[in-house]
Amino acid sequence: MANADAALASKPVRTTGPSGAGSYKKRSKLREQRRGRVGWLFIAPFAVVFVVFLVAPLLYAFYLSLYSKGLATGTTFTGIDNYVKAFQDPSFQKGVGFVISFAVVLIPVQMIISLAIALVLDAITTMFTRFARLMIFLPYAVPAVIGALMWGFLYSPTFGPLQQIFSLVGASAPFPLSPDNVFFGLMNVVTWQWAGYYMIIIYAALRGIDPTIYEAAKIDGANSWQVAFRIKVPLVSSALVLILVFALIGTLQFFTEPKILTLVSNGTITPDFTPNIYAYNQAFSYSNFNYASALSFALGIVVFICVYIFLFFTRKRGGFLS
């Protein structure tokens, strides 16, 4: 980000004042302005999509969220009532509580795993580690729907191997989607799906470090453990912040995996399990689009607050968006 900011900060050399400026400067200023308009032409196609599919839906959702639809009363303006209702709604509260606690536990675990793999893969280069890198990354190429289904099968008492494995030691298998276990059952699915992707990003950042830094550190007597934690990790910290932000946003919007596993969870995963599932069901099971919009917007507010709290605490790391 530092670069982008620097680029933004360095304004074009202004040819100020018509009085002192020669005709060459005038012309160059004109050219500069004309070129500026060409800049907009390059951005215009994206800007249109941005306005139509991001700004407009947001504004429209906000508009919808200010109205309520009653059977007898029709659609009426109710101001922030939907938001008051949302933040007092036990279903929404429970869902937000779940995704936040899920993020707090999941993301550090996922990060430690992917960082550890990336450090090992960066330190050792053989055929085997190259193979390992590809295999660990492979789940990223599997759609989340399919990943969740596969784990659902593996968890299943009918199809899965758990029953067999546990019967070897004479125990009965736990059901990973029971109310007590569902937190870890889902955590496993998400870690499996994303750890490899995060690993590859960290790995790419590690490969970008100039190796002469390690030489210098070794001459100074640093052991490889110190090289890893005092040099490598700080140098890739902006990559870590970037993927933490993405993991945070993704986790708070948790939808696909619990939605797919709903049917095989024997009722553990309820229609208000996460805020997004709740909003989806409000919209498409109850046709309550006003309230669903308010829920979507309220979730957006929660995400924004969480991301800003996170970026505030990592601001010295100088990462993305800081």
Binding site: A4, K11, E32, R35, G36, G39, W40, F42, I43, P45, F46, A47, F53, P57, L58, Y60, L64, I117, V120, A123, I124, T125, A132, M135, I136, F137, L138, Y140, A141, V142, P143, I146, L149, M150, L154, P161, Q164, W192, I201, I202, E215, K218, N223, S224, V227, A239, L242, L252, Q253, T256, I260, L263, A279, Y280, A283, A292, S293, L299, V303, L321
Partner: protein
């Protein structure tokens, strides 16, 4: 832990002296065990899928060989035939839809991103800083929170339940624009553009013939990420589409899952289709990733090194 400490220095020398041999494998046992265990963990679901796709319904439910090994009846061929003929071959239709959405959405989003990223990086114009800040902020807007309002908006235009309802919202990729901007700032020298202009090339021609070739690595990376994003998307098509003929593979298999669990017992054969259908749907992307390694592995560091 201790072995990792011993192992790493030898590896560190390996790295720049490029002499992979000479270190005894014994010193690296722990890292290798660590990686080996991880490979097993990451491959188990896929292994299960491969094994289960070779079983017939009987083997799936009461097989003698267990969940992680092949049954005596090898039914892969007939399962595959069932998959492609079930319901007039709707599975192939879904596969085609997924490909269509992924390529249309992926290429569209990437072309918009490369143009906008170049514009932000190489032109100075009024409103640029404001727009770019808004764009960076928008990376944080939860995209799924946009899906429901976008649905309502598109339904007023009677565009829901058409392919456009899936393709058009997929064109939005603010993070792709950010990556392109970062990349273009570094990779495209201003002097080169200036030279092209002095030679009389128009702005668009300068972009196509001078800047674009330099931005190709970023283009390929953003393209891959966008295609994967669209291919894997579930929430958007789930919300937008009712006509099962328009479903992409993710929503289609979700539909089968719903039908299979709705009629427990009667849905047994459907579970078999879900399993082999999942396997087949994974194959195209896995092949794409394995064959395009050198492109995406380098490109993924673009956004993170800054």
């Amino acid at each position: 832990m201790t072995t990792a400490r011993i192992a790493a220095p030898s590896a560190a020398t390996t790295r720049y002296s490029r002499v992979p041999k000479g270190q005894g494998p014994g010193r690296r046992v722990l890292p290798y065990l660590f990686l080996g265990a991880l490979i097993i963990y990451f491959l188990i679901p896929i292994w299960w899928l491969v094994v289960a796709s070779t079983k017939n319904v009987g083997g799936l439910f009461n097989g003698s060989a267990g969940a992680l090994w092949f049954d005596k009846d090898f039914a892969f061929g007939s399962n595959l035939a069932d998959l492609f003929t079930y319901n007039d071959g709707i599975y192939l239709q879904w596969l085609g839809n997924s490909l269509g959405y992924a390529f249309a959405g992926g290429f569209g989003a990437t072309i918009l991103a490369v143009l906008a990223g170049y514009g932000f990086a190489k032109f100075r114009f009024r409103g640029r800083r404001v727009f770019f800040s808004v764009l960076l902020g928008s990376v944080m807007v939860p995209l799924t929170a946009l899906v429901i309002p976008t649905f309502v908006l598109l339904s007023e235009l009677n565009l829901t339940d058409t392919i456009w309802a899936v393709i058009l919202p997929s064109l939005l990729n603010p993070f792709g624009v950010y990556l392109m901007q970062v990349y273009a700032t570094d990779a495209v020298p201003d002097e080169l553009l200036e030279a092209a202009r002095i030679d009389g090339a128009g702005e668009f021609r300068t972009f196509l013939q001078v800047a674009f070739p330099l931005m190709r690595p970023a283009f390929v990376t953003v393209l891959l990420l966008s295609i994967v994003g669209t291919w894997n998307n579930y929430f958007l098509p789930l919300v937008m589409l009712q006509n099962t003929r328009l479903f992409p593979i993710t929503v289609g298999i979700g539909l089968w899952e719903g039908q299979a669990s709705a009629n427990n017992g009667g849905g047994q054969s459907l579970w078999g289709l879900i399993i082999i259908g999942s396997l087949v749907s994974v194959v195209p992307l896995v092949i794409a990733f394995l064959s395009l390694q050198k492109y995406w592995q380098g490109g993924l560091s673009i956004g993170s090194l800054k």
